[in-house]
């Protein structure tokens, strides 16, 4: 007789902890063959609110830590991902119906992509900053800085890979994030949350919510303390909703098509230009 597995309860990841959704709701996720996989939480607007509060609180510490430290922490996430490789593969095979070799390729690519993003943290201002030759006795430089708190609607396509590319870019530049996982295939996101929780990433830097993106779209769009949104996981119509509501605090809104792209790092920065006189 085969052994009875201990089934996993899939919870949200907010502020370094794994709470259940405050509304108590869950939704059923089945695998590609229709077999029950789990009841991830259905995050409510209040869960979103808590996640934003943690992301905001964590942002100052995250951005003012050195880029080197951020890079090391991000690299550690890759170390943890590597050691959890088989769990990621299992989750992808189960929920997306991919073959083991295809899933393995995807997980390897995801880890390698995360490593790529980790290496960006201390190079952003070298690559995207500048000193500007103004006509006067002034030292003038432009330095890219993290925007702050970014909400990410993860894509259903290759959920792990697209999640990694979305989060990696956002974190490398010193932002913190709230990820709304792909509604149909959220489990890889939750495994990632567990990886992040064991990787020295400070509480609140990454928050992961599972649930119905359509329910959360208006709350993300209208939240005045979210600075930017990655809408790659939304339909065009939902994107417009976010744009219209987001105009109230002029959220910076981006949609990405490339997975591994400098733009994912550079889109979530603000450029600050500083003037300083040169004299005795």
């Amino acid at each position: 007789m085969s052994r009875i597995d201990v089934m996993k309860t899939y919870k949200l990841y907010i502020n370094g902890a794994f709470p259940r959704g405050e509304s108590g709701r869950v939704y059923e996720v089945k695998d590609s063959k229709g077999k029950f996989l789990g009841n991830p939480c259905q995050a409510s607007r209040k869960d979103l609110r808590e996640a934003v509060v943690s992301a905001r609180a964590a942002q100052a510490g995250w951005v003012y830590s050195t880029a080197y430290l951020r890079g090391q922490i991000l690299y550690r996430v890759a170390e943890m991902m590597e050691s959890r490789k088989s769990e990621f593969i299992d989750v992808i095979v189960a929920s997306e119906g991919k073959s083991v070799s295809a899933a393995t390729n995807e997980v390897s690519a995801a880890i390698d992509m995360w490593v790529w993003y980790a290496g960006w943290s201390d190079k952003i201002s070298t690559i995207a900053g500048s000193t500007n030759q103004v006509s006067g006795p002034f030292y003038n430089f432009t330095i890219p800085e993290a925007i702050g708190v970014v909400a990410i609607f993860a894509s259903e396509k290759s959920p792990l890979l697209s999640l990694v590319s979305a989060v990696g870019g956002v974190l490398a530049s010193g932002n913190t994030c709230i990820v709304i996982a792909a509604e149909k295939s959220p489990l890889a996101a939750i495994v990632l949350a567990e990886v992040v929780a064991t990787s020295d990433v400070p509480n609140g830097v990454v928050n992961i919510l599972t649930g119905k993106s359509s329910e959360l779209v208006p709350w993300v769009g209208s939240h005045m303390d979210i600075d930017a949104v990655d809408v790659s996981g939304l339909s065009k119509k939902q994107e417009s909703e976010v744009r219209i509501a987001g105009a109230d605090n002029l959220k910076r809104i981006h949609r990405f098509t490339e997975m591994q792209s400098a733009q994912r790092v550079l889109a979530f920065v603000e450029n600050k230009t500083v003037w300083h006189p040169i004299g005795v």
Partner: protein, 480 residues
Amino acid sequence: MTKFEYSPAPESTSIVDIKSEYGLFINGKFEPAKGNKSFETINPATGKPLARIAYATNADVDKAVNSATEAYKKIWSKMPASERGKYLYRIARILQERAREFAVLETMDNGKPIRETRDVDIPLAAGHFFYHAGWADKLDFAGLGNSPKPHGVVGQIIPWNFPLLMLSWKVAPALATGNTVVLKPAETTSLTALLFAEVCQQAGLPAGVVNIVTGDGSTGAYLVNHPGIQKIAFTGSTEVGKGIARAIAGSGKALTLELGGKGANIIYEDAAMDEAVEGIISGIFFNQGHVCCAGSRLLVQESVLDEVTTKLKSRMELIRIGDPLDKNTDLGAINSKAQLEKIHELANSGDQEGAQRWSPQCELPTDGFWFKPTIFSGVAQSHRIAQEEIFGPVLSILTFRTPQEAVEKANNTPYGLSAGIWSDKGSKILWTAQRLKAGVVWTNSFNKFDPASPFGGYKESGWGREGGRHGLSAYVKVVK
């Protein structure tokens, strides 16, 4: 003993030839608006009319967009980048040649002092064209990917506070990156844009590359929503900017915004005091305070509040307010009756909410729109005059105790355009600059601009940057 008073030193207006009426500039030619509607533009220092400006109808805007589209497809997108650059160089040089004419015209239409149009606005405008001319064939080096592609036709809407300069901030990078332009100047200040059209003709710029449609807010709205436009660049109020963002959501149009601000000018106790006071003056009274990045909140360290206030008041007694065409005038006219009323309304709220108002003794001219340079002491973050953009020569004075508090108060606003920091301690300046959520931080300086220096806001002060390498990205399609 006879006082050393300055005799009037007016700049002659004979250098400008203001027509009685102006048409639209479409496809390289001036032509009347369809329907022949027009509106008056006045000199706000005298209240007297200067000319009649054409009111572009939707059909005119359609024609302008079409001509920009044709020019893009047939000429501009096919022209080698270096050749494009040479047109911009020509424009820059002609602006320099006709600098005095532009300065006088700008002063008459806007109300700002001739010293400022002569020494700041016009030279910077020419500088923007010169700077961007050099970028035209070097875009591969700009960090925008290989051979970045322009959007096509861009719609640009500019404000009345720096008319020609704002035109140059928009048109120069748009053309340098290969776009064609339909530009709508502000309705109270169209004259230098129309004179600029003449410069385009003199430079031989191919017809349709730049089109100028004069009109009001609805002209701008029609342009924004026009399906033939691929990108919008807007400078103006935050409210209108948000409206544009909503209006084009889902249209696929690119948008950059340069909106309002409530800049904090932070004076630490170890600042070079006399220079800091000069910086306060320049921060809020330059251009009559009609500056999005004005240092309209003075955050002074409480330990030096009295010293700074005393020096500030003495210095304000020296401000010369009057005829903008007089070379010795420091503070000119408010641009319009509407703006003057807004300034009064907010200043009155300062009185009502318990702040202490002070202005130096000065005589205001009887005609035109004028407001004395004004400071409010005892202001707190909760006052309207600490939160809302006044866009006039009114300074709100607040205090702080520690650098942390200075940063918190400075950042405690939905705006994020500019800030100033005054201190003799370098490490403190950099620490503060690092923490300010502002797109432009002037340290031991204020209101400095340069074509090479990217300008723009955090948060609700806008999207994107203008100027420098970073400003180019607004005008090309970036693959994400």
